[in-house]
Symmetry: C2
Subunit: 343 residues, 2 copies
């Protein structure tokens, strides 16, 4: 098994060595079917391509770390895929580190710095506020993905990068869309914690949109889910409680698509038709929004573009071609089948 | 920030130090609300609990590694949560390592052994066949989760553990259930690769059930998805192709719930009613099966029990209280709203 070479892989696949190399190095000029077959043979034989082997075995391999808050959170999956591809293209090693609920991601990053030949860090999710002292201790550039606000008080924004949408503005847009459809009794499923977070910005967008259109926020329609905004169950239970409370509402704005899928199910179980009786809107533009029944109206964050930009920015800082930046992407309101004009 | 102590956390939360300690150590005798509040304060302050700090900082911390094939695969999320909890309770450090598509998980494990004070490995997913030589090189016990068949040819089953359902038998049960409802034209969405995998076992269960009931498998109803069986898009496209082919079918058996959700959406787009016109069944019993509309009939793998058993087994092998074992869990057919008797 250990004698498998790239020549042997090429022979088994009936292709040239250069084709195998193109497959391994993710070149675009290769037939996807051929590439798939080559990668399967590589896995079957246990062959380790040279660059992967080098990355694994050389303890001095240059390395990028991705710190993901909540590995069970589907939101970051498309971003992680992009990061893997970009890191591989640059011949860096990649460490994906899950941050546990009782850990601080910056502490984890500081530890990783000691152990690894780390060149840069991407933070995905996590707290919106950190200790300025700790951030300053980081010796490698850090890009915070999906968080656009100030990461720490008393810290210049020149000391870190962010790639995000403007959550407050985009959320305002979502609620204004519902108001434009004639909705006034708009319930919201949001997070209850007082910790600064991007969800807080979305909630502010909701309040501002109501205010602009002269609608008084109704405390009874503001529903707080458990901390975890990416569980179907929280969306389901919170919506069921809202329904059972007897409060009148014509629309529900959910602060994540995952919550919205739970809301759709709770409405279906209560015999409430979407969008005929109640409109439902999500936030994030995750894949599930496109596949649930009815298709969900949502605010799409351009996750792939954001991840690509985060990697480009990180590498340009590593290469000293750029300083830190704060890049804001526009969100896109995707109108699905879950919203309609009020009757 | 670095001066925060457990006493300060307790003061801020208005609880005793022992309560904070119970929260940090995941004791069960604590009010969940209180625990939540404490964990939030811990995150806000950046306080590092002693045991986490020790695990992070001591390079000799005993460590368990979880190697996950496909971090973007939602299937393993509930299992990872259990592993985290169990590892924390045992005061081990946890390394979650994502295995990339061109890596061999056993190679990755062999590398991790060199770097870390590794005591045991849990493999989640990945290839169903490995090199016996490589497995033998592992110096710490390995448990393969969700794969029950022989991991390597020419290797005694005493050299590794498995925790799984009997995929062939459970799949047989699913298809027999459909046949019992009167279905004969049962399409299947399965994986096309020739690599040994648990999906192959499920496919065999399908063929065996048809055979037992005298139904000749129809090549035109056997539909192969791209390698990745956990994408909505693959389920959607493959089902759309099936519909557009004009072949007659009354049921679709999808080899994963994620594929089934894509199938539901494709059927809805074609104006085909589920279950009135076509029945749909998934496999896995993932959370989405419970929340999609209609609720999905599926084969539930007891993922939480399996993960708990895998950890118990791994630690009992580490503690030399047990040798390797092969534990098979029964699956459970969950009847949802997506299947009905044929008219």
């Amino acid at each position: 098994m250990s004698e498998i070479t790239i020549v042997e892989i090429a022979r088994r696949c009936g292709v040239g060595v250069s084709t195998v190399s193109r497959a391994i190095n993710n070149h675009s000029d290769i037939n996807p079917e051929t590439k798939k077959r080559i990668m399967e043979v590589i896995r079957e034989t246990g062959y380790i391509p040279n660059n992967s082997a080098r990355n694994l075995k050389r303890t001095d391999a240059k390395c990028i770390a991705v710190l993901v808050r909540g590995i069970t959170n589907p939101f970051f999956a498309p971003m992680i895929e992009v990061v893997e591809k970009e890191v591989e293209e640059r011949k860096y090693a990649l460490v994906i580190r899950h941050v546990e609920s009782n850990e601080d991601e910056v502490d984890v990053a500081l530890e990783l710095e000691k152990e690894k030949r780390l060149r840069g860090i991407i933070f995905m999710g996590g707290a919106a506020k950190h200790s300025a002292d700790k951030i300053k201790q980081l010796n490698v550039p850090a890009v915070f993905a999906t968080i656009g606000s100030d990461i720490a008080d008393d810290l210049s924004r020149n000391e870190y990068s962010t790639v995000s949408v403007d959550d407050e503005k985009e959320s305002f847009k979502v609620v204004e869309y519902l108001i434009g459809l004639g909705h006034k009794k708009i319930a919201i499923l949001t997070e209850g914690s007082d910790t600064p977070s991007i969800v807080k910005l979305r909630f502010k967008g909701y309040l501002d949109a109501l205010k602009k259109h002269g609608i008084k926020p109704d405390e009874k329609l503001i529903r707080y889910v458990d901390r975890r905004i990416y569980t179907f169950g929280n969306g389901y239970e919170t919506t069921r409680n809202l329904i059972e409370s007897g409060e009148k509402f014509t629309a529900i704005y959910c602060i994540s698509d995952v919550l919205a899928v739970g809301a759709l199910r709770a409405l279906a179980d209560a015999g409430i038709r979407v969008p005929d009786d109640v409109s439902v809107v999500g936030y994030d533009g995750q894949e599930i929004a496109e596949y649930c029944v009815p298709r969900l109206t949502t605010l799409r964050q351009p996750m792939v573009d954001m991840a690509e930009e985060a990697m480009k920015l990180l590498f340009s800082i590593i290469d000293k071609e750029s300083g830190h930046k704060h890049i804001v992407f526009p969100g896109e309101l995707i109108v699905g089948e879950s919203t309609r004009k009020i009757k």
